[in-house]
């Protein structure tokens, strides 16, 4: 199971869609279900569906019977809309009134006289994204951890509605800043699937180049941040410096540090010239990273903080829907680039790194291997880059739909695009990797300790913007 979402098939006819991957089958399977009234919750069978169902309840008002956690998720308790924001009766652009409230949390059982509650956020230390975390703790031990997200919910999916399909790319690039390429790519692929548009080979290879450059600067940032949490100061500086170099390479190639303004429905907006200089730059970056990685793997104080920290068991990772380096570090061998290839990945050697341990160290090791694999892919894509046009024309037919996906630096991303009878976007659903991994993360925090929390959170490499949308 990958995700579930709702959309209005016709006026006031709500339909549920479940997207699943079937073993040994490349296309995704989509199940449909009319939902005029309350439907049974599937969260007890597929725990990962729990959040999707709560999101649908908040935004569409559809009730799921026997949901194990029937609380609000995307809209906070203090939000009282006249009707759900995606309901056709919701007045266009009516701002939602939200009162600042505390989160409704399940009551603690047993003797709680010594248990203390630490609410942390939504404005947190240093430069951080906004979210609130509740820790129930006893001295150094965390008994229970409850993140409250969606402070940053911008209603991005609704912003797509009514746009021409070509115009959605700029919006998709800004759903998650550090995933600009992946979001634009998945969106473009969804629209291209709806329009049966085939992308020219040169554009497909350049898309791989951009996607891997995005993975690279994200992973380099990850190591800088991870070293920050283990107080490895030079390691932190080195990781952030390498990230800065990668971002400056992004700028030299595309004019944007986040590789924005490149993707378009049908290919790319303009051609790029990575030859002959870019491969040599990545050789140098790769060498520097190999040295850095060797140092990290040889530093006992760093490894002591990672090994056994935030252990995520394989079964839990699968049931709760962990994705990306997080699930690959728990022994799940899944990668969309290899299993459901898109762009030019079918023509390139995709190495998938898998570790079994499931702890913070395994998550770091998976990313280390991915940095090396990314650099190899980048060089290979530059090498094999065919000549030719970078954009194909393609018209999107009214009443069409498409599914697009990408393996982002943080895991699987899906865009489901529905085009209405007027040829404009009727519904766009975004399943971001952090939505999946934030769901899983608390399971590794319960019954752990405060000292490990920041390290564990860094090892997951979560973003909030993508999750909250």
């Amino acid at each position: 199971m990958q995700m579930a979402y709702a959309w209005y098939r016709e006026v006031r006819r709500l339909e549920l869609r479940y997207v699943a991957s079937v073993p040994d089958q490349v296309p995704f399977t989509v199940w449909r279900c009319d939902a005029d009234d309350a439907v049974p919750s599937l969260a007890n069978t597929w725990p990962l569906l729990g959040w999707y169902e709560r999101e649908i309840t908040d935004l569409f008002g559809l009730r799921f019977v026997d949901h194990p956690q029937p609380q609000r998720l995307v809209l906070h308790e203090g939000a009282n809309p006249p009707c759900p924001p995606f309901d056709p009766d919701y007045p266009a652009d009516l701002p939602l009134r939200v009162e600042t409230t505390t989160q409704a949390i399940p009551e603690l059982a047993g003797d709680q006289s010594d248990v203390q509650l630490l609410p942390f956020g939504p404005v947190r230390a240093d430069v951080m994204e906004s979210a609130e975390f509740l820790f129930f703790y006893l001295g150094e031990a965390i008994l229970h951890y409850h993140p409250r997200l969606f402070f940053k919910h911008r209603g991005m999916e609704k912003r797509f509605e009514g746009l021409e399909p070509e115009c959605g790319v700029v919006l998709a690039e800004r759903v998650s800043g550090v995933g600009s390429v992946a979001h634009a790519l998945a969106y473009c692929q969804a629209v291209e699937a709806a329009g049966n548009c085939s992308v020219p080979p040169r554009a497909r290879f350049l898309r791989v180049l951009l996607a891997e450059m995005e993975r690279l600067y994200n992973h380099l940032h990850y190591f800088g941040h991870l070293c920050h949490t283990t107080t490895l100061k030079v390691g932190e500086a080195e990781g952030k410096l390498l990230e800065e170099r990668a971002k400056q390479l992004n700028t030299r190639l595309t004019g944007s540090r986040f590789l924005r303004s490149m993707l378009a429905v049908g290919g790319l907006r303009r051609d790029l010239a990575p030859k002959p200089w870019l491969a040599a730059e990545f050789d140098a970056l790769g060498e520097q990273f190999a040295k850095y990685a060797r140092h990290m793997e040889n530093t006992a104080s760093h490894l002591d903080r990672l090994i056994t920290t935030g252990k995520l068991d394989r079964r839990l990772a699968f049931d709760q829907g962990a994705t990306g380096p997080v699930d690959r570090a728990s022994g799940l061998d899944r990668d969309l680039r290899r299993d459901h290839p898109y762009a030019a990945y079918a023509e390139l050697p995709v190495q998938v790194a898998v570790r079994e341990a499931g702890d913070a160290h395994a998550r770091a090791q998976v990313r280390m291997a991915e940095v090396e694999a990314s650099i190899a892919l980048i060089k290979c894509a530059i090498d094999l880059l065919p000549d030719g046009p970078v954009r194909a024309d393609g018209a999107v037919a009214p009443n069409s739909e498409g599914l697009g996906w990408a393996e982002t630096p943080r895991g699987t991303l899906f865009y489901a695009v529905h085009v209405g009878p007027d040829g404009k976007l009727a519904r766009v659903k975004i399943k971001s990797p952090s939505f999946s991994n934030w769901r899983v993360f608390p399971f590794t925090v319960h019954d752990s300790n405060m000292m490990d929390y920041a390290i564990n959170e860094a090892s997951f490499g979560l973003t909030i913007a993508g999750c909250d949308r």
Partner: protein
Amino acid sequence: MPQWTLLGLLQGKQTAPWPSAPGTDGQAGFLGMPRYLPELCGDVSGKDCKACADICPTKAITMRTSSADGRLDIDYGRCVVCQLCVETCPTGAMATSSDWAFGVRARDDLVWKQDAAAAPAPGTQMRGFRRSLHVRHVDAGSCNGCESELQALNNPFYNLHRLGIFFTASPRFADLLLVTGPVTQPMLGPLRATYEAMAEPRWVVAVGTCAVSGGIAEGGYSSRHGLDGVLPVDVYLPGCPPNPAAIIQALLMFLDRAPQRVKGGRLVE
């Protein structure tokens, strides 16, 4: 540990000499705000051309009703730097540029004017504010692009500390509130509470087009229109996101240690 010390030492000094040495800001190739060339702007084959206004996703470009002050009304406070106007313009009147130093004191300075000199000269408001600056950041619903660049400020290349500017955890210690994001409805309360917790005198800088005007996510059921009507703003810095050098430039401008470079919606030297 000695291996790390050696690794650091062998790399030598990695910090850019910028802003004291021009051209070392690390932004080579950066595409900034599109530059408007009014002399090239006009009707195309007798038809009223409004291609850029039609394509602009944030309505940063609108047609003027009277042509006394040029055909286009361009508000760089709404620009998300997507470059679509440059690609669309049939006459080349919107041109790519590397203009990113867009921090201004008055919101009006972000709106394009035929006569830039008519824009008021920025006043020196920070007289006496010569010591270190402590900044509290609040993410009011950004896409994480601005945070990524703010975090980059403390990497060895930009090394913000060398300029005496620090991020602080507590709003009680902060002089300046730095806000990113369009201000989502759930963040409105926490944002105001953070501002209220700051001791006076206190200042506010809006970083990124979202915080200046709402940006791409503006409106709808959950996003507001940036800081307008929420907090009084002292410095506006549009960009999507503004690069780290642009953020440093805006902070130095706030401290009167660098000049404001944009007036009437364009770079003036």
